[in-house]
């Protein structure tokens, strides 16, 4: 083989465009030709330099594009939020959580003292049935929003009447440098089938070039199904049911007193407080927080409502790099970044309270209330203390919906008789796992993001999907009382298989021999003949996927997707780590491997990576 032909073959080989015969010829040539081996080495170096460098930051162009498109066409149904807004929106929940106040709470009994870490989740679950009305105001302080606005303050007022009447109003009390900085005033209103969000549009155009002009966005919805995940109520802000009631324990840091009430202080990482902070992702502008920042929540030790919570900067170099990548000033470990605290308690709204005021023409989600007696629906006999709430169906669909509620607890059962796959009915995803039910099986998935705990049942003639914020044991008990027998899902509907079966016949796949405490293999999936994904979770902790290990033979490092990746040495090679995605990636012996999932920081991921060995 001539040198120029060999170099061309090297190039094709790098792009997976070389047929087996030419590959064999190339290998034979490279074995004897130092010059072409050097060309191959340098060509790979070019690739490495291209792909290991951080990707350039992407400016937020959405407002400009949407403005131009908006001048040419009718307004899109749902506004697209710029990334800055999305970041920031994570903190609306913070402000709102800050606004929760405890009033008109029917008798939640006092627990024993000292409170045990393992008892708090159980007591929160028990309290959730008894909360029927609230009114509260919180004072909120946020630091580090922008160099020109280092401190902002808010008043947040929340009113709630079970099951689904809710209004929160965030009033911005901050001083801004000029009129180009919009006040972060936010109102969210929900009343059963109606949902309305009024928030500032864009961000401070004076400080952030990608921002849209100052204005307001008002999004309205009608025909809303009960406990709809996309237009959700931030009930974890009132009582952290989803965040903590499914946990097996919490870390107790001590006691506190807020507004004269005794409180227990629990500590979590920011990544684990999603339901508290993320439930109102729809609006407003707030500073970002690192997934590893520490969140201290003072829970009223009678009612278990969050009376105060604060975010403090996590320690370590990784946190510093994250801050730099987000354009934030240096924030030493334990710096207070955010605090919300009860300021005033009042009586909860009366039973006839209607939170709604007039809004713009709403978007119709298509759900129509129909009394349960007029629906041919399969109903459970064991409701775990819940009572029938709304029921109905969607126009043009055979899907019927029953819902049940009591206080802050809720359950939705959807049923269809025309489901033909290709996956399970309901919003089940990567972590779905088969569980036994009396006489049959169902498929369970833990809570994640805005979704509750979910269970899918594939029965003869009908498919059911259950979703709830109740603990898993209650969900299974309710499902067991349904007059159906769940069968195995048809082939191809469920991708997950036991871990040993997933890695069988994949000599390239390694498994960790040293996992952090309490982590266990949860599920696995074969992604074709040459790729496998394994999930590891702490079974008693939700939400979040835990640790995710993905391995694929014959795959190189893809181009970086975000700006703040950096190179790390791992298992004798150079890989890369993305703090924002919590993802560690490397290529080892022709196999691409990645470790992520959000549960661990870089040091934790490196420990797991070091322990990877072939499955024996």
């Amino acid at each position: 083989m001539r040198h120029d032909v060999a170099e061309r073959a090297v190039s094709d080989h790098l792009d997976d465009a070389l047929d087996p015969q030419r590959r064999a010829d190339l290998d034979a040539h490279l074995a004897t030709c130092a010059r072409c081996r050097e060309f191959e080495r340098r060509a790979r170096r070019v690739r490495e330099l291209t792909r290991l460098q951080p990707a350039s930051p992407v400016p937020d162009l959405v407002p400009e594009i949407m403005d131009r498109i908006g001048s040419e066409a009718p307004t899109p149904i749902r506004p697209v939020l710029p990334s800055w807004t999305r970041y920031a929106a994570a903190f609306v929940a913070g402000a709102v959580a800050a606004t929760l106040i405890v009033a008109g709470i029917p008798g939640v009994r006092r627990g024993p003292s000292p409170v045990l870490a393992t008892e708090i989740p159980r007591r929160i679950a028990a309290a959730s049935n008894e909360v029927t009305a609230y009114r509260a105001t919180f004072r909120v302080v946020e630091r580090g929003f922008h160099p020109r606005v280092p401190r902002r303050s808010f008043l947040a007022d929340v009113s709630f009447r079970a099951p689904e009447r809710f209004r929160t109003q965030v009033t911005d009390l901050s001083s801004y440098p000029g009129p180009g900085w919009p006040a972060n005033d936010i109102t969210l209103t929900v009343d059963g089938d109606r949902w309305l969000l009024d928030q500032p549009r864009g961000c401070p155009i004076a400080a952030l070039p990608g921002c849209a002009p100052v204005g307001r966005d008002v999004i309205g919805v009608t025909g809303r199904p009960p406990f709809d995940g996309e237009t959700s109520l931030p009930t974890d802000i009132i009582l952290p049911v989803r965040m903590l009631a499914g946990s097996d324990r919490v870390t107790v840091r001590g006691v506190d007193s807020v507004l004269g009430r005794d409180a227990v202080v629990v500590e979590l990482a920011y990544r684990d407080v999603g339901p508290l902070f993320d439930f109102l992702q729809a609006g407003g502008m707030w500073r970002p927080f690192s997934p590893h920042d520490r969140v201290l929540i003072s829970l009223d030790d009678e009612t278990w409502f969050p009376l105060a919570f604060e975010v403090r900067a996590a320690p370590g170099e990784e946190r510093a790099m994250w801050a730099e990548a987000h354009g934030l000033a240096d924030e030493p470990a334990a710096t207070m970044l955010f605090r919300a605290e009860v300021d005033r308690l009042a009586a909860g709204p009366p039973p006839g309270w209607r939170p709604f005021s007039a809004g713009p023409p709403p978007r119709d989600l298509g759900f129509r209330d129909v009394p349960a007696g007029r629906l041919e629906a399969i109903e459970p006999t064991n409701l775990r203390g819940l009572r029938p709430y709304r029921s109905g169906s969607f126009a043009g669909s055979d899907e019927v919906v029953l819902s049940y509620a009591q206080g802050l607890s809720w359950l939705v059962i959807r049923e269809t008789r025309s489901w033909d796959g290709p996956g399970l009915f309901g919003n089940l995803g990567d972590l779905a796992r088969r569980v036994p039910l009396p006489g049959g099986v169902a498929y369970y998935e833990p809570a994640a993001d805005a979704l509750g705990r979910r269970l899918a049942i594939h029965a003869e003639g009908s498919d059911l999907a259950l979703e709830t914020n109740l603990p898993r044991s209650d969900l299974l008990a309710i499902a067991a009382s349904l007059p159906v027998t769940g069968g195995l899902a048809p082939a191809g509907w469920v991708d997950q298989v036991p871990v040993d079966r997933a890695v069988a016949g994949t000599p390239f796949a390694l498994l960790p021999t040293d996992l952090p405490a309490e982590y266990r293999p949860w599920a696995a999936r074969r992604d074709g003949p040459d790729a496998v994904t394994v999930w590891f979770r702490r079974p008693g902790t939700e939400p979040g996927p835990g640790i995710v290990l993905y391995q694929a033979a014959g795959v190189g490092l893809s181009p970086p997707l975000e700006g703040e990746v950096f190179a790390v040495r791992i298992r004798g090679t150079v890989g890369r780590y993305s703090p924002s995605r919590g993802l560690l990636e490397w290529v080892e012996g022709g196999v691409y491997r990645s470790l992520g999932g959000g549960a661990l920081d870089l040091a934790g991921l490196l420990d797991v990576a070091k322990s990877l060995e072939p499955d024996t």
Binding site: R8, D12, D15, A17, V46, T50, I65, I69, P559
Partner: protein
């Protein structure tokens, strides 16, 4: 889209303009998208066309305004990565486009072929020529450092 635009035009403000133009064109042309290629491939093709237009406009402006050349007189960064960046920037467009799409963006030959309207065999040849040029560029740095 922005990253592709930036790799092609090598100038952040122009890349922002190209990104906006690409999305506006895509929005206007959405009805003409028939699903024969992946949506991303179709969008990349529009982006590439907008980038070509932007480069032409920029080159026209530079010819009109010779002072702009002074901007280019920046002391070169001697590092290997910087040398590679300069070498990519110096590639002629018919080599830089396939290199950016395939090596930097990670697209397949089939996808790049659709975007650039160039046969896959021709693309392979251009990729090889691009690589040869870039390998030579980093060889020079290695030699200087040695």
């Amino acid at each position: 889209v922005y990253r592709l635009a930036l790799q092609l035009v090598r100038d952040p403000p122009t890349a922002e303009d190209v990104t906006q133009e690409a999305f506006i064109h895509a929005f206007r042309s959405l009805r003409r998208f028939r699903g024969q290629a992946k949506f991303s491939t179709w969008l990349f093709r529009i982006t590439r066309n907008c980038a070509v237009d932007a480069i032409r406009r920029r080159e026209r402006l530079r010819r009109m305004d010779r002072e702009a050349v002074a901007e280019e007189e920046i002391r070169p960064d001697p590092s290997l990565r910087a040398a590679l960046e300069r070498a990519i920037e110096g590639l002629p467009r018919d080599l830089r486009e396939p290199f950016v799409l395939i090596e930097v963006m990670g697209l397949t030959y089939a996808e790049a072929s659709t975007i650039l309207s160039v046969l896959p065999g021709t693309l392979k040849s251009r990729m090889h020529r691009a690589r040869r040029t870039l390998v030579a560029a980093i060889e020079e740095v290695d030699a200087d450092e040695a």
